[in-house]
Every structure is written in structure tokens, then in C-alpha cells.
Symmetry: C2
Subunit: 478 residues, 2 copies
């Protein structure tokens, strides 16, 4: 016999405010919203999944949540890689995907106004017709949402030339923890009226407010790319090329690296006849257009030859360029053939890339694991990916140890524990270590100032302050 | 007979900690640190001027200030245009100019580490030898300091292509109100570990902490510029060119405008044989290099001709380019020949520049004042400059009224009350109007979180919260 209990008062209030179809409590349904793509991150069970259709709906949710002390975990499509939007027991998971309108595209002011549920690719497509370009391009661009991109300050392949999400944010509408609506930023290119609140919310992983609208800057569409691929026998050669790119003032629109493990995995998957003995493969593009692009890629080819590349190939044929890039794009799917993947996300100063690649090799050897490194060489953001069988307790333990070894290595090289994926739930300890006690106190002070009851995405990014802990422990005790 | 009173206990403590030569109390000396370049902004009298030599000195100052409840006004060279560093009665004015070391220039990682007292030009010169470039270039670049640039998020002529100060900040060291030292940000290009605190401090005008060190990103040195000058009979034509630049995807490295008042004032000063009947003069540059630059400037020249320019001239001779640019650079000195100047700083969406120029004409007519408009057309940041005799009460009143009219006009066009000069002490009322009550509450909450006693630059940017007011009124009552 099925046991039916009456819904909590706050669930009833939410249904009254948003309509029953926006408030889901069936555990079979809510479970599907419990976690993102960080497969091994912990996740709780949502008490309810709420799908607002408007800013007013979000206001109602936060008012009900505040009144009843129910935590709220904001979430987009769930493409995250750090567990930032993983469910918290007893909390509302607030899914923003229904708020998916591109509200405005202005070629005159080169900006767009969007709701958070707009898929990255949908925004790209919406502005392409006007000859415009929204650069941030996380690899999940065809299904991740702008709201998630904003909350984690997403990067992608474009960053070496075009920067990250925060570089494109002009203004935001944010629903605060108590339901007040903050509008901050502007439609102008420049502006210094007051604190840069927009960039405080960007990258705050849903801990400070719920983003309900964004005004983003656009760029002119890039020109047809010229592409280069080169292989090297040593990481030192690869590092030398990256360093020379930086010091010579070249600004390619893409500069990616993959290590021998990735090369072999991709070759196995694509049968692409790659050089399986190469220690590293670099792929680069220039979108500077015409002769400028050709000159930029030729200069890069020369740097590769000077560093002793075994193979250098360039092409201005976009189709062939796409093929060369496909090897890079398939690195992660190829590594997934080797087991479950634990994807790390360390950014190091660009001069330390060779040292970082060598360090990852040493970690793979000492932990007896397969680790493939693929990364954005041009900006120093590396994704060492540990491939293992998670059903084997010993392998699992070694994989987690290697994950930590990699973070330790990155910090030791003057880097950061996360270049673009965020802290989420998987790197909370490491954040404290990277930023230290004073910065942690400042984080807590700002969190307390904006979310005094600790309702927004509690336990993510950094350890809760007292109010925050109280909110969570109350719920765990139910 | 001179009356000598014993110094306050906190002055003695500061002298003990920093040395007597770092703590100035002679009113004739301290008066020279009382105000910035916003000539008509209110300024108090510093109780002491303190010149720290190290972060440890700044820590000592903030510890003493906190212990005794003495407010602190951080200040660089005093080139500000909004009264942000103007003295507060009874407060310490903390002058950062002795901390002027360029600590590191790293071509490999394309960054520099500097103390706040480094003059903008000194940083530019320090990195030029390595073929590098620090873009933000406020017009006071040869004497303003990086600390001031950071505190106001300075722009300049470069912004249309290269952005503003915040776009170059990788990391900061900040002494908090209570003397704790916060290190935030990083040396890597990318990084999302925790809140973007660095960009919260940038542009906060000394109200949240004292910046004692900055790690800034550099760019490859720009290439030799190609320059264009064009004159137009109507603002509509000028606005059309700017709009077509934006929609056509051109990204000049400089795109400046000056109105007829400026043209005539510059012509009077330089005897440059400018077209005194022209309604607007546009000056543009491309630093894309070689043929790309020539093509970019030719495309821009074609847009000017299509818009009906009376005169279009281009040159790839840097010396001639400098001459063309000199007209723009001399606009403010030329306007100063006409009286005291009240310089406004409004940014509007780029599509509204013509409407803004026309509106300024109307304000000049209705208030019977001379207003010259010079501005960064490429990014919509305009500096209408009111020229008047401040000893005439009627003129003075009309000048202040016109200043407000201009802000009203800017807000009405979807703009902001300050594009790059900051709010300081002259636009506090207007900030509240632009950002509204919710954003103001958020500002206060963040201020209270980081500076609970309201000691840092009280009364600047926005109206004090309760704690802040208490600190100031205590001092006024002394």
C-alpha cells in the first residue's frame, strides 16, 4: 500500500503561486535533477524541483523559501563539472530552463539581452544572423545554458583570444535571497557607477542570488580560420612553443594541447592515423582574416619548427581545419572509452605548462593510473582526466588521490585549483587552501551580507558560516 | 603667540609605527593633499597625511585607525575628477605615492606586479622594453598612479579596442579596514576559484580597502598606427559613422569625437587651421598593423564619406598621426582657456551618441553656457565640459544646473552617470538615482561586511549606512 503524506506547507504555497506543473515532488522525477556531470560528486535528494517561467515566479520562490527557511539550489541544464548544482537534501532545486527567451539582439549597441535558460548555442545562433558572435564556448555549448555559464564564469576554447564569460557581462537582473530584485550593470560599454556587482555574481555558483536576466556584449563575427597542427617528441618542446607564442605577441584564436595518452585514445576511437609516438599534439587557429591569419599561423609554424616539431601542418581550408580540430574535440569522448573519468581543471601560468604536463605524467606513474591531459595551452588551463573503473575500490581511492595530487601540483606551480569549471561541491577544501583564511572570511562576510539565512546553494564553493550551517542541519534533521 | 597642542594619541602611535617623516600634520602641508582635480567638489581638512612605504605600514595605519575610530581616505597622485580622494574632516589622508615599485615584469606570463604608487606612464615605460603594453591610458597617464586607476577603474582613449582597468587586473593585495591583508586573484590568465573579489575592489574608490599591490595583465605592443580625421556638418552624420563602425564590425584602436565648441577652442589655442564651421571632428586610429590597419582605416574613411563628411584625411605617418591626435588631446586645455571647467562623464549606448550631442547643445543654449563636448565616441563615453567664471554666482548656479541636466540627459538615453571618472563626492545623489534602492542596499550591505565601522573613505560613492554616519559625525563633533 502506498503511503501518501500531505505536502509541506511551502510546497502548497509554491503550487499556489507558480501552478502545479511548475512544482515537481515525485521522487522519480526530481531524482533526474539531482546532479550535474561531475559523476563522482556527492548529491542529495531535492525536496522539490521548481521550474519558474518568469522573474516574478523566482521572486515568489525566494519569498516562500525565506519564509520557511528552505534552501534553494539554482540550476541550468546540468552540464556542470564540479557538482555546483547538485541537490541538497530537503532543498528546492530551482531549474531555470523554462526562462529561455532571447529578449533582444541589438546590432547598434552590439549586445543581447537573454534569460538564463537560453542555451549557449541558441544565443550564438540568434546573433549570427546579424554578423555577431558571443565568444564564450564551453565544450557543452550545444546544451549548457547562459545562466550556468554566468554562474560558473565559463570559458572554453576561445579564451586565449576572447576571454571568459565575465568579460562579456554588461548587466544582470538577480533575485536576491529574500526575493528582492536587483538590477545591476548597464547597456553601455563603459560604466563605473558603484561597485561592480555584476561581476561579483558571475562565478558565484548560485550562492549569492538567482540570475534571471543578463545583458551581454557581443563581438563582430570572427573571420574564416586558418588552422595548424603540430606534434612534438617532448613536453619541453611544447612548453617552449607556448612560451614563445606569449613572448612573441601572437594571439591565436585557439591554441590547444593534448598529451600522448589522449593522442592514442583519439586514434583508437577515430582511426585517424595520428602519430602514436608523439608526446604532445598542438592545434591552433587564427581568425584574424586573410593575410593576417596566414601570417599569424606561419609565424606559429615557424615557432613549432624552431622548437623541433616532428610534424607541422597548416591549412586555410575550413573543412580540413575542422578535421584537425576534431581530434581535440574528441579527446574527452575518447578517454571515456577507457573508463569512468574524473576531469580536473587546473590553470597554471603559461610559462609552467611543460612542468605541469611532466608532473601529471609522474602522478600517473606513481598512482599507477591512466591520466590523459587535454588543455587550453594558450591560457594555461589544463584538464588532466583520470580514467578508471570506479567499481574497484582500490582504483577509486588512487583516482581520488591523483585528483588531489594534480591540484597540489597546480598550486605548487603558482596556479589555481579551477580555471573554468568552478569549485562546486568537489573542491571546497581546496578552495580554502588556495585563497587562505582572510579571503575565506571575506567570502563569508559577503555571503552573510547577501544571504543572511544561508539559503542559496548551501555548502557549495566554501564551507558555511554559522547561519548557513544552521539552515542545512535543520533540514538534514527532518 | 602660537598655540601648540599635543598631537592626538593616534598621531603619536602612527609616528611610532611609521616614523615621523611619514606622518604629516602641518596644516600648510596637509592642505596640499586635501583635494583632487575636481575643482568645485567639496573637500575637508585632513587631520594627518600619512605616506606609507610598505604594506606593513598600511597595516599599522589601519590598525591604529580602527582602534581609534579615525576615518581613512586613500589617495594616489590626486588626478581624480570626482573628488573621490578629497579629504574628510578629521580623517587620515593615506597617500600611496611612496609605494612606487614595479616589482616584476614577466614577459613569459605577460604580466607585471606593481605597487599602487607606480605612475601609469612608469608602468608603460617599464614594460615597453619587453615589447609589452599596459593599455589603460587615462589622459593624466603621465602623473596618475595605478592605485588610483584601480580604485576608479580608469579608462582612456584605448577603451574602444582594449577595455578598461578592470580588464587587466589578475590579482590584488588589499589591506582591509581592520588591518588584515587580503590577497585575491592570481597569476594565471583564467581562474574561477571563489568570488571575483579583485573586481569588487576595482572601482570601489577606496571605500572597501587599501590596494597595496596589483598583478596586471599586459598585451603585446600595438603596431604603428594609421590615423584618420574627418569633419561633419551635423551630429547626425557623426552618430551615423559611429553606429556603422559598430554594426560593420570595425574595431579601431581609437575613435574620438569633439564638437564645434572644442574645434574652435583648439583652433584658437593651436592656430591649427581647423574647419571652424564643422559641427564635429572625428579622429580614429587602427593599430592592426600593415595592410590590415590600412584596410581598416580605409573602410572607416568610406563610412565617413557615405555619411557625408566634409573632409576626410588619412595617414600612415606616425608623426602626422600625432599631429591629428594633438587636436583631440588639446581639447581640455583649450576649453580651460574659456574659464573654469566642470567636466562631466556620461556614457551612453553607442547608438545614442548623436542624440546626446544634440541634447548637450540644447542644454548649453537653455542655460546660456559654453559647453564643449569631447568624448570617446567608440565606446559612448562623453565628456561635456562646462566652461564658466566661478566667481559669478549666477553663472556658477547655471553651470551646476547644466551639469545635472547632462546627467539627466545621459540617464534618459539609457546611459550611466559616470563612464570612467567615478562617483566620488560629486555624484552621490545621482548614483542612488541610477542604481535604485535595492542596489543601494546591496552596496551598503557589502560595505558593512568589509568595513563595519565605516572608516574607509566615508561619504564617498554612496550615502553612509548607520555605522558609517556615526563615525563621521563623531569626528565632525570634535
Amino acid at each position: 500500500m502506498a503511503v501518501t503524506t500531505a505536502p509541506a506547507a511551502w510546497v502548497t504555497e509554491l503550487r499556489d503561486a507558480l501552478g502545479a506543473d511548475s512544482v515537481l515532488t515525485d521522487p522519480d522525477v526530481t531524482a533526474s535533477y539531482a546532479r550535474d556531470q561531475a559523476m563522482l560528486a556527492p548529491a542529495g535528494t531535492p525536496a522539490a524541483v521548481v521550474l519558474p517561467r518568469s522573474t516574478a515566479d523566482v521572486v515568489a520562490v525566494m519569498q516562500v523559501a525565506t519564509r520557511h527557511g528552505v534552501p534553494v539550489v539554482p540550476r541550468g541544464a546540468g552540464s556542470g563539472l564540479a557538482g555546483a548544482s547538485n541537490a541538497v537534501d530537503g532543498a528546492i532545486t530551482l531549474v531555470m530552463t523554462r526562462m529561455d527567451a532571447v529578449l533582444e539582439v541589438s546590432p547598434e549597441d552590439r549586445l543581447a539581452v537573454v534569460q538564463p535558460g537560453v542555451v549557449n548555442k541558441a544565443l550564438r545562433d540568434a546573433v549570427a544572423g546579424a554578423g555577431l558572435f558571443y565568444p564564450p564556448d564551453p565544450s557543452s555549448y550545444d546544451w549548457c545554458t547562459i545562466g550556468g555559464n554566468l554562474s560558473t564564469n565559463s570559458g572554453g576554447l576561445c579564451c586565449v583570444k576572447y576571454g571568459v564569460t565575465t568579460d562579456y557581462v554588461l548587466g544582470l537582473e538577480v533575485v536576491l535571497a529574500d526575493g528582492r530584485v536587483l538590477r545591476t550593470g548597464r547597456r553601455t560599454v563603459k560604466g563605473v557607477a558603484g561597485y561592480d556587482l555584476a561581476r561579483l555574481f558571475v562565478g558565484s555558483e548560485g550562492t549569492l542570488g538567482v540570475i534571471t536576466e543578463a545583458t551581454v556584449a557581443l563581438r563582430p563575427a570572427p573571420q574564416r580560420p586558418v588552422t595548424l597542427a603540430a606534434t612534438f617528441a617532448t613536453t619541453a618542446q611544447t612548453g617552449q612553443v607556448v612560451e614563445r607564442v606569449v613572448t612573441s605577441g601572437l594571439v591565436p584564436s585557439l591554441l590547444e594541447v593534448m598529451d600522448n595518452t589522449c593522442i592514442c585514445a583519439v586514434d583508437d576511437l577515430l582511426k585517424a592515423d595520428l602519430d602514436r609516438t608523439a608526446h604532445a599534439l598542438l592545434v591552433a587557429q587564427s581568425d584574424a582574416g586573410g593575410e593576417a591569419a596566414a601570417a599569424e599561423i606561419e609565424a606559429l609554424a615557424e615557432l613549432c619548427r624552431e622548437a623541433g616539431a616532428d610534424f607541422v601542418h597548416t591549412t586555410d581550408d575550413p573543412a580540413e581545419g575542422d578535421l584537425l580540430l576534431a581530434a581535440r574535440r574528441m579527446a574527452l569522448p575518447a578517454l571515456e572509452q577507457l573508463g569512468s573519468t574524473l576531469i580536473d581543471d587546473v590553470a597554471v601560468p603559461r610559462s609552467r605548462i611543460a612542468a605541469f604536463l611532466d608532473g601529471c605524467d609522474e602522478i600517473a606513474a606513481s598512482r599507477r593510473l591512466t591520466i590523459g591531459v587535454v588543455g587550453h595551452a594558450g591560457d594555461g588551463n589544463m584538464h588532466p582526466t583520470i580514467c578508471f573503473d570506479p567499481t574497484d575500490p582500490d582504483l577509486r581511492e588512487r583516482a581520488f588521490a591523483a585528483f588531489d595530487d594534480i591540484l597540489e601540483l597546480g598550486l605548487g606551480l603558482g596556479g589555481t585549483i579551477t580555471g573554468e569549471h568552478g569549485v562546486g561541491s568537489i573542491k571546497v577544501d581546496w578552495l580554502e587552501r588556495e585563497i587562505g583564511p582572510v579571503a575565506l572570511d571575506v567570502h563569508r562576510a559577503i555571503k552573510d551580507a547577501l544571504d543572511p539565512d544561508g539559503l542559496l546553494n548551501p555548502g557549495k564553493v566554501f564551507r558555511a558560516s554559522v547561519a548557513d550551517l544552521a539552515a542545512v542541519s535543520t533540514l538534514s534533521g527532518r
